[in-house]
Symmetry: C2
């Protein structure tokens, strides 16, 4: 069985991505980050998902993105609430963490190289996203080109790194329907940028709004509890 590295945030998209990697015949190695985010609920969720979907290994890497600042997800800046959805794919919001996907993909590349794996899965989405530059297809394709020059296998002309983005052209509703078909337990996932102290999702941040809209459009009920 071929090994694949799956970037697992603990959210709905990356959980679905992990299930897809298995369906495609890969043995999944999950990778999560403790990166200075405001809360640890997503790390707990990542652990539960990795276990539930049978990841072969789950590495949690500690990196500190707070040293640089510049985002509401790592700093003491208010998470925006009830933003107009028409703006989601236009503005780059304050929840954007500088170069985050580049950093996450770089670590997944190191992990893949050590595992002797050529396949990396990331749950980025170009439709229902929050306007982040590092979720665009042209960015992913460019990272893949770079990755193939960065590593031993590149210099030795061996196997080629492939960055898989199975969700990139799916709507949130399509992702949810797909996940349900594959048996993903979305009650284990965590999406909210600004949960209550007990982990309850806020229902007003971009992530909650996209998620709730996705379940509604899929004609399904979100198994999570929301604070209001």
């Amino acid at each position: 069985m071929q090994k694949a590295v799956i970037l697992l945030s603990g959210g709905l998209d990356s959980a679905t991505c992990l299930a897809i990697s298995k369906q495609n015949g890969f043995e999944p190695y999950a990778l999560s980050f403790r990166y200075g985010q405001r809360h640890e609920f997503e790390i707990d969720s990542a652990g539960a998902i990795a276990k539930s979907l049978g990841a072969k290994e789950h590495v949690i890497s500690n990196i500190d993105l707070r040293a640089f600042g510049g985002s509401a997800l790592t700093d003491d800046i208010d998470v925006p609430k009830d933003r107009d959805e028409a703006l989601f794919s236009k503005d780059i919001p304050i929840t954007y963490v500088p170069a985050r996907n580049t950093i996450f993909l770089s670590f997944s590349l190191a992990y893949a190289e050590v595992l002797n794996a050529s396949d990396i899965f990331i749950g980025v989405n170009a439709l229902d996203y929050s306007g982040y530059p590092d979720c665009r297809p042209e960015y992913i394709s460019s990272f893949q080109n770079m990755a193939n020059l960065a590593t031993k296998s590149g210099i030795e002309g061996q196997s080629h790194i492939q960055i898989h983005t199975p969700l990139i052209n799916l709507t949130k509703a399509e992702i949810i329907r797909l996940g349900i078909e594959m048996g993903v337990d979305y009650s284990l996932t965590h999406s909210c940028y600004d949960p209550k102290e007990d982990g309850t999702a806020c229902s007003h941040c971009d992530a909650c709004k996209l998620r709730l809209k996705g379940f509604e459009e899929a004609g399904l009920t979100d198994p999570l509890t929301y604070s209001d």
Copy 2:
């Protein structure tokens, strides 16, 4: 004054790179990593160099590359000694840390984005190097392309990220001569992969051999003490 991020390892090359960034009119922001390397001498050296050369800021980022393993620089694997220099640019040695420069450059990209800087300096070298894939010009160029799609400035069509590699075509002797002209104090730098407990350089690892050969070819004396 335009800000630039300088990747500062504490070694001879990156110290020279910092001096060059200043000579080119940039205000230098130095970035070092505590990445699970076997010793901390290079972090101490990086601090001393940043101070000595007047870096505006020096961020030390904690990241753990030991989680992935696979290198003599982070794991409990012997550092090779007295390797044939003819092999340095042919084999990829066990001191190669998987995807290290990709990870370091990714963090420098996050730092640059927060500083609103477009310039990043890295002291990679394509001549007197150790055969690492992520020191090659085609790799750097590819990283730069990716970086310009990864960030806010990329999506907004603003300023372009430039990865400066002023040492890429210089021999070690040329780098040392250049640094001496600019007043770099090489007694503050640390190059050895496997120093004694008091920090004394071993003189037998690839890094020591390249450094000693460089000083010899430059007709200069290395200010460091070596154990034998």
